[in-house]
Amino acid sequence: MILRRPVFWLILIFAALMAFIPFHANDVSMREDLILVAIAVILASNLNLMIGYTGYVNFGHIVFYGLGGYVGLYLATVRNWNLVPASLAAGVVVSLFALMLGMGILRLRGAYFALATIGVLLAVQSFVANFDPWGRSTGLYVDFSAYERLGGARHALWMTYFLVIGVMALSMILSLGIKISKFGLGLFAIREDEDAAVVLGVNTTVFKAIIYSVSAFLPAVAGALMFYKNGMIDPSIAFEFMLSLEGIVMLMLGGKGTVVGAALGGGLYEKLRSYLLTSPKLSNFQLVIAGGLLLLVVLFAPGGLIGWLYRLVPRARKVIE
């Protein structure tokens, strides 16, 4: 049972604190920092379902986030839907898209799959940039009046923040739930040896398609919320290849395949980046520092922070999942 896992409660406490502290202090600046941290955690956690659990490197994971943003913003601004149903609809639509896409490209393995995901990302970006209902490369804008419906801009932003924190908590709980489930066991088998998994009875085709689709859902919801908060979306920010790659960096940093590692990596990386970007001396070198850090992790600590913790304190494996 998931309720018996200490990590489950840790996630809830962590999310509650993240929601409560900036609200209590009415610290909007902290909120803006934390919402980016939450987004990073969402992206890294869901990416972990593919890379960490199933062993499929998805370079184009951001495509779900961006498409979710587009579907959500389109429904919320052009079709005048409320934010919550629009975001959920974005999640559903994008998951279905992923399911169909997955049937095709999940026949590929290893690096070929990774490359195909880059192709998908660029093809989708190009399509959206030519798609009239979504404003081509100019994108979609949120009318200020949309905030009025949610009780004014300030209120709307707090609401989006809580929703994003909610999605973050769900992402981590989803990761945990899958990890301790039979479904998760099947995914791990695929990660370790796909051929062996089939022979052991795992329906790998279905499992892969499902997890690909599942890993699309929450990022799409988060994308809808985040771009609504941003007030606009265009193809270059929705489908940022760099962000897709940074998701992988976050995962490696924290430790792929672990619930806490993905979250930790996402949070830390975003914090580091924010710090470097606003530090006058280091801002020119933020890429160098982030790259160097990644290189060190890949070369010397492939298990990431959590892997390092496991080696240091083997018993941690039981608690920190």
Partner: protein, 250 residues
């Protein structure tokens, strides 16, 4: 009574090479059927066609009365046909227990996680790996990995087990142990279809033996009949060692 496994007229071609050519045989309940033949005879390919890793070009495979010719390997497992690999495929970074739990979870009974773990522990006990349950599969010895292969397949609660050279690479003590395990499996009511190069073992274990050479079925019958078959002995001439052993068995 209908046989458990019925292979009729199966062929498999890779490019210009006919790996398996028009092979037919059947296997009954509680039977141990051996499959022997020189290297490259197409034994593993035949296994792969039987459990659906490859689709045969011709012929049919029936299992427990159902036509499984077009089934994928995972469907075949659900029907009760499990197998091991000649080159072991442990799920390296998972524990031994998890490896076997995978087998139980997605096997014939498609168990939930908790009962699957129970079955896995039982099976580990049976193959003598209980002590290593929490070790990672990577850290097992080759003998341990062979046993893990068997345990995973067993955990699927199969009606028929395909064993692909489970004795290869083991020392005499380990061989004896493994032979015990195979007997035990048969005694528990599971049929076994096994490929083996260790002649003494397969001769003593099998109820019947099928011999493949260049993809074709050369002979089929009780071990002593097969061993006497001049065609079989000739097929093994390229391998005088085994030919010698065959004769010894007579």
């Amino acid at each position: 009574m209908t046989p458990l496994l019925e292979v009729s007229g199966v062929s498999k071609r890779f490019g210009g090479l006919l790996a398996v050519s028009d092979v037919s045989f059947s296997l009954g309940e509680r039977e141990i059927l051996g499959l022997i033949g020189p290297n490259g005879a197409g034994k593993t390919t035949l296994f792969n066609v039987v459990n659906g890793v490859y689709k045969g070009d011709k012929g049919t495979v029936k299992f427990a009365g159902e036509d499984i010719t077009k089934c994928s390997p995972n469907q075949v497992v659900h029907l009760g046909l499990a197998r091991t690999h000649q080159i072991v495929k442990p799920l390296q970074d998972m524990t031994v227990l998890e490896n076997v739990t995978v087998g139980a979870c997605f096997g014939r009974e498609y168990l939930a996680l908790k009962p699957a773990r129970k079955v896995a522990l039982e099976v580990l006990e049976r193959v003598g790996l209980a002590k290593s349950a929490e070790m990672s599969a990577r850290s097992l010895t080759i003998a341990g990995k062979k046993r893990l292969e068997v345990a995973r397949a067993l955990a699927a609660r199969p009606k028929l087990l395909l064993l692909d050279e489970v004795l290869a690479g083991l020392n005499p003590t380990e061989i004896t142990h493994m032979i015990g395990i195979v007997r035990d499996i048969r005694d528990s009511g599971i049929s076994v279809f096994m490929i083996e190069h260790v002649m003494q073992a397969i001769m003593s274990l099998s109820d019947r033996i099928v011999v493949l050479s260049f993809g074709q079925k050369l002979a089929e019958g009780r071990p002593e009949e097969v061993a006497r078959d001049p065609q079989v002995i000739e097929a093994y001439l390229g391998d005088p060692d085994i030919a010698e052993k065959l004769k010894e068995n007579n």
